[in-house]
Symmetry: C2
Subunit: 341 residues, 2 copies
């Protein structure tokens, strides 16, 4: 591969024996330049394979028409569906998106923010990493006046736009459903309490148990990173209890899959011995045997609302604009894993 | 949200009553500036919330320490695993990556390339969209002297580095396996022939049939975009044939899943009535019932090699450097869907 020297405006000017300023004006279709000169400039620019420096132009205008999206990971149907919908809405308005992933790491999330600021994005739409507690990097985005919209995993303290589902109420819906199936000892394989959405799910679970006069047993409530492996480990721990649960509500589908694997390996009848409910409605919940009941998080709607919130920021006067906090109602998709006949 | 005016080097200079050039030198740790002045500059920079303009510095140095990755879609385990491995290798060397997706659209792929060039990436690692035939956008990357590495879906005509698996041989392995199971009428739900990898799989399939003296029946060979829906449609077409196949080799796991759904719905015994093999070893192939045999494309290895190929470009003198063409051997993971007892 040969590195060719980049053609500059000066090179074009030299060929035509005019000033660099005139070439620049011609390329920007300035009315002070004759059509004849413009045509000549464009012809030479093409011959010399001139590539206008969009970066320099972004520096001048302060607008890149790029929006950065930060997700914990891309290999989750929820996040990729949100991305898809953000992209569809923004593409129509002439924006392109660039994606970075944090892999649930705080350090990588900070890197992602720096990278996006470096590329001069006009806005950032993000869902926070599991690890993130320190909000200073997000504060940096805010302090630069760049629209910041959080979805799914947000943080009240940041005081920015947020789109998500009602996690607290989702837990209530799940417990309600399991109680209706006759379950009396409901366990919760939860996420880390420090992450707001998982904290809300845990609170919803606890309050729903109280509401139905079910005892809250601390050995039935666990926290983890909700990977497949976490689901396996936590399910094994629950099975090792003297007094096993008759239902398990898992705060993420990947961990629910791990739990299902263990139940199948141990030949435990689902849902009659132990009922199972997941969270996220990942496509595989409908493929496995038995199929897993799960909460639909309305990823398409979240993506669209996030994109539209960004567009409102750039269209309107952003000073003193009210925050957009959208909490969508989740729905429970009931499948074999929790339908006791 | 309030947009604050950005602090410039001039603002710092004004506070300290020194020149902007001196501030710039101090911030770049220039030895011509005293430690006392450096300390004062840093203090004022911090007080005024000064953010160095990385973009301007990238313009000067021509190095952004960013690598762009273009994939057809992120919600595929193969692509997200490749991305993961590219990222791990490059992060260690101080590079960050930004991801764009083409959604299999040529127009979106062109947009992605423009976006990445705009953000001044130091290199591009890409897997081409299904639709792409016109290579001019990739030629543009080459002509700018930016390292371009293709993986999985590449194109010989582009003459760039490439990392992928041996698609031709993968088909041979699959047909060989199915013949060993006693299958005699093997269908192929293939991808579009215009995409090199799918063309190679089709060629491998045809040659393997010949090798085993099996008749090549044109009604058993189809092309599609290999979505779940495509798999469903093509499987239904195969079932409608007077002379049905006894095995189906699908060139992608998502389409294989669609085919499996139809076979299950029609109560066709897998693998005894019809054996099924997919391609890609997506995690769900191991979750469905029956579990689907599939080709492992070694995504981790592909990601690592792609990243290392890029690093070699930036480390070495790139003029007249030899191209890196890496073709990995794929392996067939044999599961229930093709194990005839």
């Amino acid at each position: 591969m040969n590195i060719k020297k980049k053609t500059t405006i000066k090179d074009i000017a030299n060929v035509l024996n005019i000033s660099a300023a005139a070439v620049s004006k011609a390329l920007h279709n300035d009315s002070r330049i004759s059509d004849k000169t413009k045509k000549a400039v464009r012809q030479v620019a093409e011959n010399l394979n001139y590539q206008p420096n969009h970066l320099a132009s972004a520096l001048r205008s302060g607008k890149s028409k790029l929006v950065g999206v930060i997700v914990p990971r891309t290999n989750s149907n929820f996040f990729s569906s949100v991305i898809q919908n953000i992209e569809e809405v923004l593409n129509k308005e002439g924006y392109n998106i660039i994606i970075t992933q944090s892999n649930e790491s705080f350090k990588k999330e900070c890197n992602s923010i720096d990278t996006l600021l470096f590329t001069q994005v006009d806005g950032i739409i993000a869902s926070m990493a599991n690890e993130t507690v320190d909000l200073s990097y997000y504060e940096k985005v805010k302090s630069k006046g760049i629209p910041l919209i959080l979805f799914d995993r947000g943080e009240n303290d940041l005081n920015v736009d947020y789109i998500g589902i009602d996690d607290y109420n989702s837990s209530q819906i799940i417990v309600e459903h399991l109680v209706a199936q006759g379950c009396k000892r409901i366990a919760h394989i939860g996420g880390y309490k420090r992450t707001r959405i998982f904290n809300n799910r845990i609170r919803g679970y606890i309050d729903a148990l109280k509401k139905h006069n079910l005892p809250l047993d601390s050995e039935l409530l666990t926290e983890s990173g909700l990977t497949i492996e976490d689901g396996r480990t936590k399910m094994k721990q629950l099975l090792a209890l003297k007094n096993r649960p008759d239902a398990v509500y898992v705060a993420g589908d990947y961990a629910a899959l791990g739990a299902l694997q263990v139940l199948n390996e141990e030949n435990i009848t689902i849902p009659n011995e132990i009922a199972l409910v997941g969270f996220g409605n990942e496509p595989f919940t409908d493929m496995v045997s038995p199929r897993i009941s799960s909460i639909n998080q309305h990823s398409a709607e979240i993506g669209k609302q996030a994109a539209n919130t960004f567009l409102n920021h750039v269209k309107k006067d952003v000073v003193n604009q009210k925050l957009n906090k959208i909490i969508l109602d989740a729905t429970l998709v009931i499948r074999d894993s929790s339908s006791i006949k």
